[in-house]
Symmetry: C2
Subunit: 179 residues, 2 copies
DNA sequence: CTGGACCTTTACCTTAACGTAAGGGTACGA
DNA sequence: TCGTACCCTTACGTTAAGGTAAAGGTCCAG
């Protein structure tokens, strides 16, 4: 049963794809981008992967979820492979991670702000719920019986008013002499 | 000087674009998508905007930064405009914001995890810094003088090893009889 | 040795949010 | 009445990460 190679049964793209929850197309794309290579090809040209490929693909997925693009992952991989030839490449790897960390932290700040904005907007929309339809300013809702504590509409809500609906008709073609 | 209309000087796309830090193309796109409409057209067909357009654009920008797509913003706007005809549309607006809030919170969780991952990875890479080139496992770095406290490589680092460089040459075409 | 499942490459399609260019008209100061 | 800076529409290009199709070759169980 055992050939000259290891008997660790090799996988065809379809098998590998199923095992990783990816499409065969995706795996070929990864190869095209230099992220993944089959350990061998069958006599007839079929890609054959070993178990390490599974690890690699999971890793790619993880990095993708971390916000890296496939191209960045490729660069990262290339840099790592060049660590054989000096520490510069290693530094690039570390820098890339550091940059991503910075971006991640920036994203955290932004998302926290956004959360506050959304909560505020929802609060505003909810307090105004009984004035149907609710309007953005107190002026639009003059005899509103509720004394809602929220005064100025949150920024996310403030933009709704004004500006004609673009879907309307032909926008009036005003002859504005003396622009 | 004052025509029949308000004398609030109207802006041409270019002016508006400059004032909002957008391109004229973007503003036309917004119009095409139903997000923005000029209050009028000049005799010759030039778009003419009033100051409300600035507010609208800033709002669009804010929503975009909040993770909404332009199409979603359009839907939001349409729903709002239909609040005239019942509370259903209003509910859709509120639901949309609520959904976004949920997604935002999910993103916060993900990013917090990611931050930990990245910090861990950087820590790992830094402790291994003096073994040039650093390797992922202690085995790869046998006579490393440093007793680095970090043992197993973080997931983000673990995927570097193994798998041939796809850029290499023609991958060996092994005749694997008896697959 | 054959059928059907799977594989190969090549190549065009998709979505978002614009960029850029072409070909031509407009607004307005000098 | 220019000149020229700006505007109009139409339409194709771009990037990311694949999807999908076409035309054909391969693997292997029966």
């Amino acid at each position: 049963m055992e050939t000259s190679q290891e008997a660790t049964k090799l996988l065809k793209v379809g098998d590998l794809a199923r095992q990783c929850g990816k499409s065969a197309r995706a795996l070929r794309l990864y190869e095209e981008l230099g992220l993944l290579a089959p350990t061998a090809r069958s006599h007839g040209g079929f890609r054959l992967y070993d178990e390490a490929a599974v690890t690699r693909i999971r890793w790619i997925e993880l990095l993708q979820e971390s916000g890296f693009t496939l191209h960045q992952i490729r660069d990262l991989l290339r840099a790592w492979q060049r660590t054989h030839y000096g520490p510069d490449a290693m530094n690039r790897v570390r820098d890339t991670f550091a940059a991503r960390l910075a971006e991640t932290r920036a994203a955290l700040v932004r998302y926290r702000e956004l959360e506050r904005e959304l909560v505020g907007s929802l609060e505003y929309l909810n307090t105004c719920q009984e004035c149907r339809p609710p309007r953005t300013t107190a002026d639009d809702c003059p005899h509103c019986p509720v004394d809602h504590g929220v005064q100025e509409p949150p920024a996310l809500v403030a933009g709704f008013h004004s500006s004609p609906a673009p879907g309307g008709g032909i926008p009036l073609r005003v002859v504005t002499e003396n622009l």
